[in-house]
């Protein structure tokens, strides 16, 4: 599959997540704070509460856990790093510049983390790309999703057209021992006089997970080709025309 570069890439968010087998001590994050703030000036702790309910016999038992994750961001909020108890997430919101810039930032941040945590077993690598196809629709006409995407629900003729849909499918990517989760949905468009369809793909690897930095980078390059191929399979030429329109402003 050839590389595609669009004038207006439809990517709204790109995410790389690494999950660990064992939790990272909070003191590590405190040490990292200073170094990371050179790259991400804004820090926001995110506190989450989890409630578990288990039934033992006829009696429910609840346990509550409290976690703090750390969300670092660039001043324009487009580059994000999240340090969690069991994971690190590098995220890029639009505008998405390039795979090279995104992954080099991931490598930098991951290397910095590894310096302070040492080797930790990695249990999962996830790469997620969320795309949005914005379709001009001034007259509020029905948009036929099959003209723009190849992933949509199939319904009996007498039950069409649909106002909204959301579908999810999951399939094994046997060649790379990963799992692809594919979402597609019609969402309220952020643009006036437009309709929008999201195509969201998540490639997750939990089998034979690469452990060294080099192997992770090599794997990510494979995922790059795969996710591009998946995306191109999910869209039509009509959608591609939209991504190649010149910016007016």
């Amino acid at each position: 599959m050839t590389k595609s570069i669009y004038k207006q890439p439809p990517i709204t968010e790109a995410v790389i997540e690494i999950r660990f087998a064992s939790p990272i001590d909070e003191s590590v994050y405190n040490k990292l704070n200073k170094k990371i703030s050179d790259f991400y000036p804004d820090l926001k702790p995110i506190n989450t509460y989890k409630f578990d309910v288990k039934f033992e016999g006829n009696h429910p038992n609840t346990t509550t856990t409290y976690e703090t994750d750390y969300r670092f961001s660039s001043s324009d909020m487009s580059q994000i790093l999240i340090l969690k108890n069991l994971a690190v997430t590098v995220s890029q919101l639009a505008p998405y510049e390039s795979w090279e810039k995104f992954t080099s930032r991931f490598q930098r941040d991951f290397a910095l983390l590894k310096k302070h945590t040492g080797h930790r077993e990695i249990t999962r690598i996830g790469v997620r790309y969320i795309n949005r196809v914005d379709i001009p629709n001034q007259k509020g006409e029905i948009v036929h999703e099959d003209q723009y995407v190849n992933i949509y629900p199939q319904q009996p003729e007498n039950l069409n057209p649909v106002n909204r849909y959301a579908i999810q499918s999951q399939l094994d990517l046997k060649d790379i021992k990963a799992v692809l989760t594919l979402n597609s949905a019609v969402i309220p468009s952020p643009l006036k006089d437009h309709s929008s369809i999201v195509v969201d793909q998540d490639i997750a690897k939990e089998i034979d997970v690469p452990q060294s930095a080099k192997d992770i980078v090599d794997y990510l390059e494979i995922v790059r080709t795969k996710k591009n191929s998946v995306f191109e399979s999910c869209i039509t030429d009509k959608a591609r025309e939209l991504f190649n329109k010149c910016l007016k402003i």
Partner: protein, 223 residues
């Protein structure tokens, strides 16, 4: 089927269900009916049902990012600086949703202006920071009309974004309200006589409403 049997079955499923940490979607009545149709002679959950539940659980496990769902809405116990930071962060994240349609120079300039009007040192505590819904109206208008010349940005005491253009003595001021509404004001000099118009309209209608005033002079990029 005896009551004891159903009860035992229900407890067994709930125990396994809780382990999977799935949200409870099934009412117990519905569940009992499905058990009746699915359970095998060994009085365990059927394999096919168990597989279905496992698949549902697998689908839930996705690569996660908090960046999609910022939670900055709780203002209790926050300092002014934090409230202002969150307001600015929210609108920047809002902007990211349409950044692929924006010129980077405009975007960068917009953020600089937004940050400047939210300077904590000079903030009036009686005022509201930028309202997300107002900002959203501004973005949607901007993408609809794509003016070459960017506006100066101000804020109303209630947090509505104000966009202003001035050419010579002529001025155009638009206050963006939530839900794609605007208040507009235009002053133009014709043969040294000032003419002023004002009104309220939607962002879709604004262009038509302002057309008699030849607003292109404001929106064309200055040399």
């Amino acid at each position: 089927m005896s009551k004891d049997l159903v009860s035992a079955y229900t407890n067994s499923f709930h125990a396994k269900y809780a382990e999977m940490q799935l949200p409870s979607l099934l009412g117990s009545d519905i569940f009992n009916k499905s058990i009746n149709s699915l359970y095998n002679d060994n009085l365990q959950i059927s394999e096919s049902f168990s597989r279905t539940l496992n698949h549902i659980n697998d689908l839930k496990i996705k690569t996660e990012s908090y960046s999609l769902v910022p939670d900055f809405n709780d203002v209790s116990n926050r300092t002014t600086k934090e409230i202002l930071f969150d307001a600015c962060a929210n609108v920047k994240i809002l902007t990211s949703k349409v950044s692929m349609h924006l010129n980077s120079e405009f975007r960068n300039n917009l953020f600089i202006q937004i940050d400047r009007v939210h300077e904590p040192k000079s903030w009036n505590q009686d005022d509201e920071p930028v309202n997300q819904l107002s900002f959203n109206s501004f973005l949607r208008w901007y993408l609809l009309n794509t003016p070459e010349q960017g506006p100066g940005i101000g804020l109303s005491p209630l947090g509505n974004l104000v966009a202003a253009w001035m050419v010579g003595r002529d001025r155009l001021i638009i206050e963006f309200l939530p839900k794609d509404k605007t208040k507009w004001l235009i002053s133009r000099y014709y043969n040294d006589e000032k003419e002023r118009g004002s009104g309220q309209t939607s962002i879709s209608r604004l262009s038509a409403v302002l057309s008699p005033y030849n607003v292109d002079t404001f929106f064309k990029e200055k040399d």
